[in-house]
């Protein structure tokens, strides 16, 4: 009964999404306030029904209703409750339902917090978001119904993939989806602006906080996914350039470009058509990612169960959305001329370079991701462009990007006096170069060209991001003189610098070694002594495991004990490696059990990962920067001011 309610709620949500699309957009076109008014209530209703469907599926998991095929395939009686909940989005159908729920959530948020935006504009934005909901709800109802029944019901389920039984994975997909579904809001604002023809800079002002919010969630989601892969897959790497990872990384890169370009459009009224194009592209890449992951067109370590029919559906929907948007763009964009100019040395120039480099980086990732497909179609044989290619190619645009970042932050809008600019840059440049050489050479004891470039760039970014804050603090107004926007930018850039430092140091000085260990034996890696004290059998709720106790010492002094496990999940029979990690800000010591070698000896993978925590810490700080930036009072003031200046025609009509 409950699953049928869920299914019915999905269908009602689809009907409401259709109303949410058609009525407000026609209403905005005809200037009919009553029709535009439908937007907010339809969006609320759609959210409620999608939430009911989501609740029904969660209920089916919690009550072990194995008469529902999706539940039977992805849960099991002894699965811990937390994972019964996260199993809801553990595979294709349910994660799609979460996609739709999050889209409806963003729509609801836009409906609630857009009171400063003229009614006609808000109606169009909500209408466009409704259209996206239609596509995904129809996709789910027609090809991927999570409520499909299994007759006769199974006695027990097939269990959730053990890889996914991890707290990190319970929250990774929601954060990631909030991020990349969130770019739908910027997309909808862009489409609404083009539909209305009202393309002055206000739409950029309204879009900015939404874009930053989506971006910060995406940043957190990607970082969490990377962290999860690090400790759960047992390989100790943090990024694999896997198709699924790239699918979320491409929208992030373009989203980052979009945030910067929106700043220019809002402040200076420049780059208008370019910003529109980026807003369309960011969300289009989210859709492309969904297609790549779910159509099975690419083989990936974490692809969903796939089906070509689903591939055609998403591709068709993607085609309608993107081609429609770009047709609109080809029609509207040519009229967007800017009459203002900017000098060669100005913040505008640097932001333009930022955009160009980020777009190049995205193109590289896109090419690399699609290359197996290109090769296959050209009959050049099955290849996969691997990590070395990506690691090299990706540096070409990103090294200049991070170096220009520090310069751009200190350039003024419109035009910048060269002399004062160089004065400001002198200090960060000197500190950057000195620390960039001293740290690797004296702390870690080695030097190479790439290492120097990475470290100098990292310290350069951190110091040059802190300079404006320190300078403001030293002025009369002190902390009060710093806007949240400026502070957010500095914080996010510091995060970027720490990230670069972490990546550079861990790539250069990380040590990885496979050893054989038996109880009582010890081995030395990177100056640390690892001694296996014993092997124990342990049992979890739905697995049994062998746990090794490994004591780590340095120069005879106790550092810590780690307990890596080799788990055998009872239902799916798959062995899983649970790494033992001694985590620290300065380094991680990572021990993973490999295979049993006989005589109680095990192959053990031992890794020394200096500064690897900086990678995720950097992302966390970047996201924090985004959060600070959207809390800027400018946005709140704008909302109130615009509310006062609301379109008089709409007010008349409403009265």
């Amino acid at each position: 009964m409950i699953p049928e309610i869920g299914q019915f709620a999905m269908i009602l949500a689809l009907a409401l999404a259709a109303i949410q699309t058609a009525v407000p957009i026609v209403g905005a076109h005809r200037d009919d306030a009553a029709m535009m008014g439908v937007a907010r209530s339809a969006a609320t209703g759609q959210f409620v029904f999608v939430a009911i469907a989501f609740g029904c599926l969660t209920y089916a998991f919690l009550t072990d209703d194995f008469s529902v095929l999706y539940v039977a395939n992805h849960s099991q009686l002894s699965l811990p409750t937390l994972y019964k909940v996260s199993a809801v989005w553990g595979a294709h159908e349910g994660s799609l339902l979460m996609w739709v729920l999050i889209l409806a959530g963003w729509t609801l948020a836009v409906a609630r917090f857009s009171s400063g935006v003229p009614d006609a504009f808000a109606a169009r934005v909500i209408g466009v978001l409704g259209f996206l909901s239609i596509g995904f709800l129809a996709f789910m109802i027609l090809t991927s119904n999570p409520f499909e029944r299994l007759v006769p019901a199974a006695a027990d389920g097939a269990d959730l993939n053990p890889l996914l039984q991890d707290p990190g994975l319970a929250i990774h997909p929601p954060l990631l989806y909030i991020g990349y579904v969130g770019f739908s809001v910027a997309f909808a604002f862009a489409i609404a602006a083009m539909l209305s023809g009202d393309l002055d800079r206000t739409w950029a002002k309204w879009t900015r906080p939404w874009t930053t919010l989506a971006w910060l969630f995406l940043t957190l989601g990607i970082a969490l996914g990377s962290w999860w892969a690090y400790y759960e897959l047992g390989w100790g790497g943090w990024w694999f350039w896997d198709a699924v990872e790239n699918a979320s990384f491409m929208p992030w890169l373009i989203g980052t470009a979009l945030m910067h370009s929106l700043a220019v459009t809002e402040k200076r009224g420049l780059f208008k058509s370019w910003t529109l194009l980026l807003a369309i592209t960011a969300f289009s890449l989210s859709l492309l990612g969904t297609f790549l992951v779910r159509s099975g067109i690419l083989v990936s370590v974490h692809a969903f169960a796939t089906d070509p029919e689903r591939g055609y559906f998403i591709l068709a929907f993607l085609g309608i959305v993107v081609v429609g948007a770009l047709l609109l763009y080809a029609w509207r964009a040519p009229s967007l001329d800017s009459d203002v100019g900017f000098a060669l040395l100005s913040r505008e120039t640097f932001l333009l370079l930022n955009n160009v480099l980020l777009v190049i980086a995205t193109a590289i990732v896109l090419y690399g991701t699609l290359s197996p497909l290109i090769y296959q179609m050209m009959d050049w044989g099955k290849i996969s462009i691997g990590e070395p290619w990506f690691n090299f190619a990706f540096l070409i645009p990103t090294v200049p990007l991070v170096i220009l970042l520090g310069m751009g932050m200190h350039a003024a809008w419109r035009t910048q006096n060269t002399g004062t600019w160089l004065d400001v840059l002198k200090l960060p440049a000197i500190i950057g170069v000195v620390l960039g050489i001293v740290v690797p050479l004296f702390v870690y004891g080695r030097m190479s060209v790439m290492l120097a470039v990475g470290c100098i760039a990292a310290f350069w970014i951190v110091v040059s991001s802190l300079v404006p804050i320190i300078r403001s603090l030293r002025r009369e107004k002190g902390a009060a003189g710093i806007t949240r926007s400026a502070l957010g930018m500095s914080v996010a850039h510091v995060g970027m610098g720490l990230f670069v430092l972490g990546v550079t140091v861990v790539s250069a000085f990380g040590v990885e070694s496979d050893r054989a260990l038996s109880p009582g034996a010890s081995t030395e890696v990177a100056g640390f002594e690892f001694e296996m004290r014993g092997l124990n059998n342990v049992t979890g709720p739905n697995f049994t495991a062998i746990e090794a106790e490994v004591e780590i010492r340095k120069d005879g002094e106790y550092v810590g004990t780690v307990r890596p496990q080799k788990r055998q999940y009872l239902v799916q029979k798959s062995p899983m490696t649970e790494a033992g990690i001694r985590a620290g800000l300065d380094k991680d010591l990572f021990v993973a059990l490999g295979d049993q070698l006989g005589n109680n000896a095990w192959s053990v993978r031992i890794q020394y990962k200096p500064l690897i925590r900086f990678i995720w810490l950097g992302c966390l700080i970047m996201a924090l920067g985004g959060l600070i930036a959207i809390s800027d009072r400018r946005y709140r003031v704008n909302v109130r001011e615009t509310a006062k200046r609301k379109d008089p025609k709409a007010q008349e009509a409403a009265a």
């Binding site: 199974a154 058509s273 591709l315 047709l327 029979k573």
Partner: protein, 175 residues
């Protein structure tokens, strides 16, 4: 004007490329190195009676289905009804390969849902499964009278797949 149409052109090109990519082949069709080759030989005790041994020798002389199944595999249960129908129609002998399973569970399962198999080989530790390149259950192999693997299907069977992928191949060979 042209530069505003450029993104549209690129996207249409990309979509055409992706459509071709989708058509280029069923992405589910994992290439099996065994197709067109003799089925890897094996001998295993049967599920119901450990004393009795079955193996590749039993399959010769006729088209035969070898169905990989397990009690923990939900999709096996989904296809079970169809296998029962197929067995009742007596159109092809069906052998099972009970894979990574426990004997009492498997016998109970067949008792509850019916047994479409002439016999099931019992492979609890994936010895034969490994030789046969089994990715997951259910999986179904079609062997021709010479014992050559003609086709391998991943996932549950249903009447449409049976007709499209299996019957057609059997008819092709014997007009």
């Amino acid at each position: 004007m042209n530069r505003f149409i450029l993104p549209l052109v690129i996207v249409i090109g990309l979509i055409v490329f992706l459509v071709m990519g989708l058509q280029h082949g069923d992405p589910r069709a994992l290439p099996s190195p065994f197709i067109g080759k003799p089925a890897p030989e094996f001998e295993l005790p049967t599920l119901k009676n450990p004393e009795v041994v079955i193996g590749t020798d039993n399959f010769a002389g006729k088209y035969t289905l070898v169905n990989v199944w397990a009690t923990w595999c939900v999709m096996c249960q989904a296809e079970h009804g169809f296998l029962m129908d197929l067995a009742a129609s007596k159109s092809i002998p069906i052998y099972g390969l009970n894979w990574r399973d426990s004997r009492p569970d498997a016998i109970r399962w067949l008792g509850r849902l019916g047994d479409p198999y002439i016999a099931s080989a019992f492979d609890p530790d994936n010895r034969v499964g490994m030789d046969w390149g089994v990715y997951g259950a259910p999986e179904t192999f079609l062997l021709d009278p010479e014992g050559t693997v003609v086709y391998k299907h991943l996932g549950p069977l249903d009447p449409a797949i049976w007709e499209r992928e299996f019957l057609s191949r059997m008819q092709e060979a014997s007009p």
